[in-house]
C-alpha cells in the first residue's frame, strides 16, 4: 500500500510499538473476558503491527459525527494516513418503500431524506414527477417554491456553519445564533404548512395551500432583518483568529478532483468551479432573478464556510425580489389529478440546486400507480466520497472539522 511506504521512520517508533503491543494485549484480555461472559463485541482499537499505525473507529456514536456515521481512521501518531467511511447505519429503505406506494405517498418520505431541507426535497421530487407526466406549474406556485427554497437555504447554511463551529469547540454561541434565526424561519414554515420540519407542502403541479398576505408580510419583515443577522454572524466569526487558523489550508480539494468525483453545491463552488443548477438549468423561474454565485479559490474549509455565508446573502436578494414580484393567481394546475395518478410509461430525471448540492430524483414509470424505479441522487453522499482525499496528512482533530464542512445529513447519505 503506497500510503504506508511514505511514512518516515519515526524516532519514537519503539515507544509506538510498545504502545501497540500493550494495547493488543489488553484488547485480547478484554475480548477473552467478553467471550467468557457471552458478549461478542468487536474491538474498538485494532492496532496494526507495522510502523505503529493505529486504526481508530470514529463512530457510529461519536460526538462530532453528524448522525450515525463511522470513519475507520488509520493514524500514525496524530496524522491520518487512511480513512474509510462506513455508511449504512441509517439505511431506512426509502427507495424500496417508494417503489411500493403511490407517487404522492412518497412526498412525506422525501421530507425525511435531508431533514434540514424538507421543502427543497419536495420540490426536487415534484419536479421529477412533473417532467414525467408533463404537468405545468402556475406562476404563483413557482414563486412560492422559490421563496420557500431560499428560506430553506438560509436556515440550512446558518445551521451548517453553527455545527461546524460546534465541532471546532465553540460550544454553543454560534449554534445558538444560527438556531435563533432558524426558529424564526421554522415559524414561517409552520404557519404555512402546519409543521416545523416535515413540511410535506409541494404537490405535482403546484403547492398544497395558498400563502396569505399576512404570511407574505411576515416573510418580508424576516427577510428585511436577515442582513443584520448575517453581519452579526460574520462579525463574530469571519475574522476570528481561531477560526482562521483551524480552517485555512485545511481539507483543500482540487477543482479537477471535485469535478471528477461529482461533488456539487457549496463544496464544488468553494474550489472555484462556477456551477450552480439555478444558473445552468434555469429550473423553476430562477432566470427572472438577479443574483450572483459566490466562488472560492482554495477549496479549503474556510472557503466552504465563506461560500455558505455569501450564499445566505444572495438568497436574501432572491427573496427580496420574489416577495416583491409575487403575482396573484391559482397555485395548482386545475388539470392535474392527484387521485388515481398514473403517468404514461417513460422515465424522467428532475434535479434542483438543494442547499447541499445537486439533488436529483430519477423515476421510471411503467404506467402503474407507483414508480417502477425510484432513485435519489443525494448530494451529501456524493460529496462524502472525497472525504479521504481531503483528510490525508491532516491531524485527527482536523478530520472532525473537515467532516463538518462537508455538511452531510445522514438521512440523505444512507436513505
Amino acid at each position: 500500500m503506497s500510503t504506508f511506504e511514505t511514512i518516515p521512520e519515526s524516532t519514537s517508533q519503539t515507544s509506538a510499538e510498545h504502545l501497540a503491543e500493550r494495547l493488543s494485549k489488553s484488547i485480547t484480555a478484554a475480548a477473552e473476558a467478553d467471550r467468557r461472559e457471552g458478549w461478542n463485541r468487536p474491538p474498538v482499537f485494532l492496532p496494526e503491527s507495522e510502523n505503529g499505525v493505529l486504526e481508530v473507529a470514529m463512530g457510529p456514536h461519536h460526538p462530532s459525527t453528524h448522525g450515525v456515521f463511522r470513519m475507520d481512521v488509520s493514524v500514525d501518531g496524530e496524522r491520518v494516513i487512511r480513512l474509510k467511511p462506513v455508511f449504512g447505519y441509517l439505511h431506512r429503505n426509502h427507495e424500496k418503500i417508494a417503489e411500493g406506494t403511490a407517487y404522492l405517498a412518497s412526498m412525506p418520505y422525501t421530507d425525511r431524506l435531508d431533514y434540514f431541507c424538507s421543502l427543497t426535497n419536495n420540490w426536487a421530487y415534484a419536479l421529477a414527477v412533473e417532467k414525467l407526466a408533463g404537468i405545468q406549474v402556475p406562476e404563483r406556485a413557482e414563486y412560492i417554491r422559490v421563496i420557500l427554497a431560499e428560506l430553506t437555504r438560509i436556515q440550512n447554511h446558518a445551521a451548517a456553519v453553527g455545527f461546524l463551529l460546534q465541532d471546532m469547540g465553540a460550544s454553543g454561541t454560534p449554534l445558538m445564533y444560527a438556531f435563533r434565526e432558524r426558529e424564526k424561519i421554522l415559524d414561517l414554515f409552520e404557519q404555512l404548512t402546519g409543521s416545523r420540519m416535515m413540511c410535506n407542502y409541494m404537490r405535482f403541479g403546484g403547492c398544497r395551500v395558498d400563502v396569505t398576505d399576512a404570511w407574505l408580510d411576515r416573510a418580508r419583515r424576516l427577510v428585511a432583518g436577515m442582513p443584520q443577522f448575517v453581519d452579526e454572524f460574520e462579525a463574530l466569526l469571519t475574522t476570528n483568529e481561531i477560526l482562521m487558523v483551524r480552517c485555512q489550508g485545511i481539507g483543500a480539494l482540487k477543482p479537477d478532483l471535485a469535478v471528477n468525483a461529482g461533488v456539487t453545491g457549496p463544496m464544488l463552488r468553494a474550489t472555484g468551479v462556477n456551477y450552480d443548477l439555478r444558473k445552468v438549468d434555469h429550473y423553476g423561474i430562477y432566470d427572472r432573478f438577479k443574483f450572483r454565485i459566490p466562488l472560492g479559490d482554495h477549496g479549503d474549509v474556510y472557503d466552504r464556510y465563506m461560500v455558505r455565508i455569501l450564499e445566505i446573502r444572495e438568497a436574501v436578494h432572491i427573496l427580496e425580489q420574489a416577495l416583491k414580484e409575487i403575482p396573484a393567481g391559482p397555485i395548482m394546475d386545475p388539470k392535474t389529478k392527484l387521485r388515481g395518478f398514473r403517468p404514461k410509461p417513460g422515465e424522467a430525471y428532475g434535479r434542483i440546486e438543494a442547499p447541499k448540492g445537486e439533488l436529483g430524483f430519477y423515476l421510471i414509470s411503467d404506467g402503474g400507480s407507483n414508480p417502477y424505479r425510484y432513485r435519489v441522487r443525494p448530494p451529501s453522499m456524493i460529496n462524502l466520497t472525497v472525504l479521504e482525499d481531503m483528510c490525508l496528512g491532516h491531524n485527527v482533530a482536523d478530520v472532525v472539522v473537515i467532516l463538518g464542512s462537508v455538511d452531510i445529513v445522514l438521512g440523505e447519505v444512507d436513505r
Binding site: 457471552g38 458478549w39 461478542n40 463485541r41 457510529p60 456514536h61 461519536h62 460526538p63 448522525g67 450515525v68 449504512g88 447505519y89 441509517l90 439505511h91 431506512r92 429503505n93 426509502h94 424500496k96 418503500i97 411500493g100 412525506p108 418520505y109 425525511r112 431533514y115 434540514f116 449554534l175 445558538m176 438556531f179 435563533r180 432558524r182 426558529e183 416545523r196 420540519m197 416535515m198 445522514l410 438521512g411
Partner: protein, 204 residues
C-alpha cells in the same frame, strides 16, 4: 415516609427546614439529569432545537449533554434505530452508569414509525431495553420533549428508596444490563430481550 405537610409549613415559618432523605435524594436526581449527546435521525434535530435558546432545556437542569455514556444519566433515543445500529444503542445503554433513564423520542424509536415496513428498521427500541417515557410524533415538537422531561422528573420524584416500589437500580435482583443483539441469519437475534418487552400474542 412522608412528613406531615402542615407541620412542615409550620416549621418552615420558624426557619426550620424539614425533609426526608428520600425527598432530598430524588430532588437532587431530578434536577440534574444529564442526557447523552446521541442523535440518530431527524428527531435529533428537534432535540438540539430544544436545547437552544428558545426552548432552553437548561431550565430543567438538563442542558449538559455528555458525549460519553459513562457520564450520562439519560439516553434520548432520538430517531430511527436501524438493525445495523441497534446493537450499538444497546451497548451504549449498558455502558451508562446507574441510575439511568431512557426517553424514546419519535415514532421511529417507539415502533419504527413511517419506516416500519422497511426491512432494515427496528420496530421499537423498547424490545431491547426498558424505556421510561415514550414521545409520539414525527418529529415530536420541542414542547413534547420538554413534557417528556417533566414526566420523567415526576417519575423520579415518586421513587421510593426502599421497599416494593423502589426503582430498578436500587433492586439488586433487577438487571442493569441487557443482552446486545447480534445480526442473525434473517434478523437480529434475539428478537427481543426477556423481561423487557412482552411478546404480543397473535390471536388468529
Amino acid at each position: 415516609m412522608a412528613i406531615d405537610q402542615e407541620l412542615k409549613i409550620e416549621m418552615g415559618k420558624q426557619g426550620v427546614f424539614v425533609t426526608t432523605i428520600q425527598e432530598l435524594y430524588n430532588w437532587g436526581r431530578r434536577s440534574s439529569v444529564w442526557p447523552m449527546q446521541f442523535g440518530l435521525a431527524c428527531c435529533a434535530i428537534e432535540m438540539i432545537a430544544t436545547t437552544m435558546a428558545r426552548y432552553d432545556l437548561a431550565r430543567f437542569g438538563a442542558e449538559v449533554f455528555r458525549p460519553s455514556p459513562r457520564q450520562a444519566d439519560l439516553m434520548i433515543v432520538a430517531g430511527t434505530v436501524t438493525k445495523k445500529m441497534a446493537p450499538q444503542v444497546v451497548r451504549l445503554y449498558n455502558q451508562m452508569a446507574e441510575p439511568k433513564y431512557v426517553i424514546a423520542m419519535g415514532a421511529c424509536a417507539i415502533s419504527g414509525g413511517p419506516f416500519k415496513q422497511g426491512y432494515n428498521v427496528l420496530k421499537g427500541i423498547d424490545r431491547y431495553m426498558p424505556v421510561d417515557v415514550h414521545i409520539p410524533g414525527c418529529p415530536p415538537r420541542p414542547e413534547a420533549l420538554i413534557q417528556a422531561f417533566m414526566t420523567l422528573q415526576k417519575k423520579i420524584d415518586s421513587h421510593h428508596l426502599t421497599g416494593e416500589g423502589r426503582p430498578r437500580y436500587l433492586d439488586p435482583d433487577a438487571p442493569g444490563e441487557f443482552k446486545v443483539p447480534e445480526p442473525g441469519e434473517h434478523d437480529l437475534e434475539p428478537a427481543s430481550n426477556q423481561g423487557v418487552w412482552p411478546v404480543p400474542v397473535v390471536i388468529r
